[in-house]
Amino acid sequence: MDLIFEGIKKAFWLLVTGDPEVMRITFLSLKVSGSATLISLFLGISAGTIVALTSFPGKRIVVSIINTGMALPPVVVGLFVTVFLWRSGPLGFLEILYTPTAMVVAQAVIATPIVTGISLAAMQQLPRKLRLQILALGATRLQMVWILIKEARLPLLAAIMAGFGGVISEVGASIMVGGNIKGYSRVLTTATVMETSRGNFDVAIALGIILLLLAYLINLVLTYIQQRERPR
């Protein structure tokens, strides 16, 4: 019990004193996971919308692959991204392994299927006839897609939350492709793992609490937008 109490005390202390290392780690976590989420939103909403609005042979198989992708283990993603970015790998020439960019790539790979899957479900739950109604109102195909995305905006917020939640909390891929290099590619999760393995439970708990707080605050904002009273 003392251990936890000490951890909380330490976390509070680190936060109020604005410990530069903790701040840097927190900022990098936000930057990496935020960028990865943005990329996944662009890719995932586009892919989800295309799959939802078109019909093609084998659509069910594609949907089931997307749904499987939503449960992609970060460690597996880390492994594949490492192999691809390895010096002798297909993308080795980019020389981005063990950089925050590699972490963004890995996290985007994790988040994209999550965002795609939820976007797909969000678009599919709109009434089918709505598309016809929008076209009948004189919309071009592009205008129709834009209106449909706007109509599905509330469930799409869930996609942002799930995508961000998935990557801010993952550790396997980040540690594998980022290397947990102090002052360079160390983020909240990788630092927590390291501090725990060193037996520095107070720092680990502090980092854990900051991670939780961060996830909570971001989801609070998104939830607020989602649940906000609609126009009267």
Binding site: L132, L135, G138, I147
Partner: protein, 379 residues
């Protein structure tokens, strides 16, 4: 009302889905300011017809001609869609305010500012939803939502409006008042309209012309009076509310009228038919008079039959009484008459109808052929 030049014409329109032909219209046209009601049971192909005419689905064959120009080859689909409008059974509003919904069609056309505002306000006023301007579309009643949907469609000043059972999911009072408003607005704006409905009363109220559909084809086109009083075949007859349809064989021809055998009894009808010919005799329930005693004397009706009441069905303001006179016959009576004659199941009554009240469908077997010809000739 209608001028000579059609706003929209279609020729040889076919839609095939999953290998099955779901629509087959040889020829049809709608004129300026004309309201055409497409009636038929569920699954008759009304929605498919409207969506095909609105270019929301691609027909397997045929052409749609808008003001003399063939759509797709001579006139772009998008431009055509921007000159027409469609309202569905569900209001299908956007998750925004009533104002934004009504404005949406105009905004999609790149319009903004006072032009949009004026048009939107005019339509909201017309449809009685001006007070709901800032309300979320999600918080509207069914009637209010459908009014918003109609206002949105009329805001773009369509040259043709397609209405796919817009009142089907509304309660009776909302339906009545909205139908009144729609009728008034269609007349004032002189907009051509295609109105699909399975409710013949709605069709009778709104239509300049009625097209009766079943199984993807148009069975009869005509004015409401033509379709109601001279149904082209048994299906149309039963759909437009002819309750008594008797199959008979002509046994006597008296120049202008004839007598047909219906099971074991004789029915007299005005019309031409040859002895030995098979005919369908249609009698509307409102033309059948019921009485408690046989009243041959002083009654101009030639067709008087005695029968037992099989069923009494309440129909709101009146009752439907089904009699078995050796063949089934149906009549409508008011609650007052029902009570006065103490009509109940099993009671013996006399039913009579005039020979002129019988609509004759000749040669029912070859009806399909003659119908095709009459539709092809025009309407």
């Amino acid at each position: 009302m209608s001028s000579d030049r059609p706003v929209l014409e279609t020729r040889d329109l076919r839609v095939v889905r999953g290998g099955v032909e779901v629509l087959d219209i040889s020829e049809f046209a709608v004129h300026e300011g004309e309201v055409v009601c497409v009636v038929g049971p569920n699954g008759a192909g009304k929605t498919t017809l409207l969506q095909a005419l609105c270019c929301l689905l691609r027909p397997s064959r045929g052409e749609i001609v808008f003001r003399g120009q063939r759509i797709e080859t001579e006139y772009p689909v998008l431009q055509y869609r921007r000159r027409v409008a469609m309202v569905f059974q569900e209001a299908l509003l956007f998750d925004s305010t009533v104002y934004n919904n009504v404005a949406s069609g105009l905004k999609l056309r790149g319009l903004h500012g006072s032009k949009v505002r004026e048009s939107v306000e005019e339509q909201m006023e017309r449809f009685g939803i001006a007070h709901l301007r800032d309300r979320s579309a999600r918080k509207l009643s069914g009637g209010e939502a459908q009014r918003t949907s109609l206002a949105r469609a009329f805001a773009i000043k369509p040259e043709i409006i397609f209405l796919d059972e817009p009142f089907a999911s509304l309660d009776q009072p909302s339906r009545e008042s909205l139908m009144d408003d729609l009728q008034r607005i269609l007349k004032r704006t002189n907009t051509a309209a295609f109105f699909a409905t399975h409710d013949r009363i709605e069709a009778l109220r709104l239509a300049n012309r009625i097209a009766v559909m079943d199984e993807g084809t148009i069975l009869q086109v005509g004015t409401p009076a033509e379709v109601m009083n001279h149904p082209a075949n048994e299906f149309v007859a039963s759909f437009v509310g002819v309750e008594t349809i008797l199959h008979g064989i002509v046994i006597e021809q008296n120049g202008g009228s004839f007598i047909a055998n219906v099971s074991t009894t004789r029915v007299e009808a005005v019309g031409d038919a040859n002895v030995g010919e098979h005919v369908l005799l249609c009698v509307r329930p409102e033309n059948v008079v019921l009485a408690t005693r046989r009243q041959d004397e002083g009654v101009s009706s030639r067709n008087v039959y005695q029968g037992k009441v099989k069923k009494v069905i309440p129909m709101g303001p009146y009752f439907k009484v089904q009699l078995d006179c050796g063949f089934p016959i149906t009549s409508y009576v008011t609650a007052h008459s029902l009570e006065g004659m103490s009509i109940q199941e099993g009671k013996t009554l006399t039913a009579s109808f005039k020979a002129t009240a019988v609509h004759v469908i000749r040669n029912p077997q070859s009806m399909e052929q003659s119908l095709d010809q009459s539709i092809n000739k025009g309407h």
